[in-house]
Point group: C2
Chain length 320, copies 2
């Protein structure tokens, strides 16, 4: 059902007033790529920029959802309004396991000061990434003090999403060696705060030593990356994580790097949105176009090379 | 130095004859985004499609280079010509560690039947990914029987590169738990062959059990993913890996899926090349354009939303 002009204005008003159902509806519009959703983001955009946006990354299974759940509880105790946006991977055969994680957040479902939403990576990752960022803007506009973005995995798509956060947390657990190797090899960006969860594991000290070793190799910045140990399930160490998040925010505000980050992030977002639209336009043109299919056949038969085929595609695009 | 028409034809001839120096020069042209490089790929493209292209992925530190070095040795014993293309991560502060890995391949440097090349992810990942694929085509055209693509990390950029292989190997070692979690969560595609390297580790059996558990959850395909244990440094298990690679190739050839894969890969490559060119055109237009900078300022000041800014960028693009 498309909303009329009147209901669109109503939705905007309720969203800005912090109404949870209005926020949920607005995010659905964005997720379904409804033009009304984009229009809404456009209208409320001047009311954004107030939330502290924190991105959480790290391999699946380390307890990110549990950590976020504990941080939400902590924020509520300080009377802060919180929104959580989780990005689920697309695999159909393990949905159950990940939904199990999600359940840890359900204790907050009835709290009007907490908004929780999952987005599935159904379509192209580019599209998901853009929808995520639009959803985060809507959460910001609805007056949330904290917006937590959670991704699964540590790939490029996750980086694109996390890059739009003011503060980035990498969550690890003893035994998640790949991530440390990736940090060491420079494949993964150095985060702002590192959390070692499930810290009751006997190998925790070894791991923290290893992390500090990697950090000591990284180029020195003004901010010294803290490594916090937590047992999120029991709430251990969570207050310290919250403190480090607040400290990081103060640091980047005082240093002026918050403005710099946001400028860079917004620039990247504009470019990503432009590219995403171009890609979609191209995909639409290509799908089912007999001429393009014939051209691809030529490529498969090794008669036309991929770069020349790409150039022809672009020429067509300009011609239209 | 730009080559004249005559030297371009000479380069092509020498490349097709399998000359190592010609191949090295051709790849440099592609890497430097020299139009002559693209022209060369166009010319030799009809001579591609014969090599068995195998992609190796997995976290840094598991010994991928050692494994590939051992596979190269094995291939040479069977008198096969081999090319290896390694993608290095961009971090400046850990180059040493990774170059150390590379050294394990140096014993083959003087063998005319082996060609080894590293490409650094200097520029945009899109650009690197495209250059990599062009380089792989050049290796194929120069008559190599096997082309091994090695990437560091398991992110999206690596997936893009690895996706163009006929066979994908995931290399792990006991303790690299993140990758198994990522497989389990469906963040990572199921590879065709899994190698557990450094299999003298006491936790090897546990890990193999875990991997088999994940594989049993995955949707069944015609090919049963083998899990091979190796100690690549001592050559243990390497012949078995080579055997599994050959078996996989036979399987996809017999089933007709090799053609299917290549068709899909080539289609993706054409799209990726088109997008990469569009992105570059957009980036060039945006850089240093006062009008665009002023527009971005409006976005930072929350007066203009990112999606509207992106739409304006695209309109400009169409206008030009």
């Amino acid at each position: 059902m498309a909303a009329t002009g009147r209901t669109a204005a109503e939705l905007e008003e309720r969203l800005l007033a912090g109404d949870k159902r209005a926020l949920a509806r607005a995010i659905s519009l964005v997720e379904n790529d409804d033009p009304e959703g984009w229009a809404l983001v456009r209208e409320v955009y001047p009311h954004t920029g107030n939330a502290a946006v924190v991105g959480f990354t790290g391999p699946p299974g380390v307890g990110k959802s549990t950590l976020i759940g504990a941080l939400v509880k902590h924020a509520r105790e300080g009377d802060r309004d919180v929104a959580v946006l989780s990005i689920d991977p697309s695999s159909p055969f393990t949905k159950g396991a990940l939904l199990g994680d999600r359940i840890r957040l359900t204790e907050h479902f009835l709290d009007p000061g907490v908004f929780i939403r999952s987005m599935a990576s159904r379509g192209s990752l580019g599209g998901l990434s853009e929808a995520t960022l639009q959803a985060a803007l809507l959460m910001d506009a609805s007056g949330k003090d904290d917006v937590f973005l959670e991704t699964v995995g540590v790939g490029q798509a996750e980086v694109d999403i996390i890059d739009h956060a003011d503060t980035v947390v990498l969550a690890l657990m003893p035994g998640s060696g790949d991530s440390i190797q990736a940090l060491k090899a420079g494949v993964m960006e150095i985060p702002d705060v590192i959390v070692v969860n499930k810290a009751d594991h006997p190998l925790t000290d070894t791991m923290i030593r290893e992390i500090r070793g990697v950090l000591s190799l990284a180029p020195q910045r003004g901010w010294r990356v803290p490594v916090v140990r937590t047992e999120a399930l029991r709430g251990e160490g969570v207050a310290e994580v919250a403190e480090k998040l607040a400290e990081h925010r103060e640091h980047i505000t005082a240093e002026g790097t918050l403005e710099e980050r946001r400028r860079r992030n917004l620039r990247n977002e504009v470019m990503a949105l432009a590219m995403w639209r171009m890609r979609r336009r191209l995909e639409e043109e290509v799908a089912g176009d007999a001429e393009v299919q014939a051209m691809l056949d030529e490529v498969v038969k090794r008669r036309l090379d991929p770069a020349s085929a790409a150039a022809r595609l672009l020429e067509r695009d300009t011609r239209d």
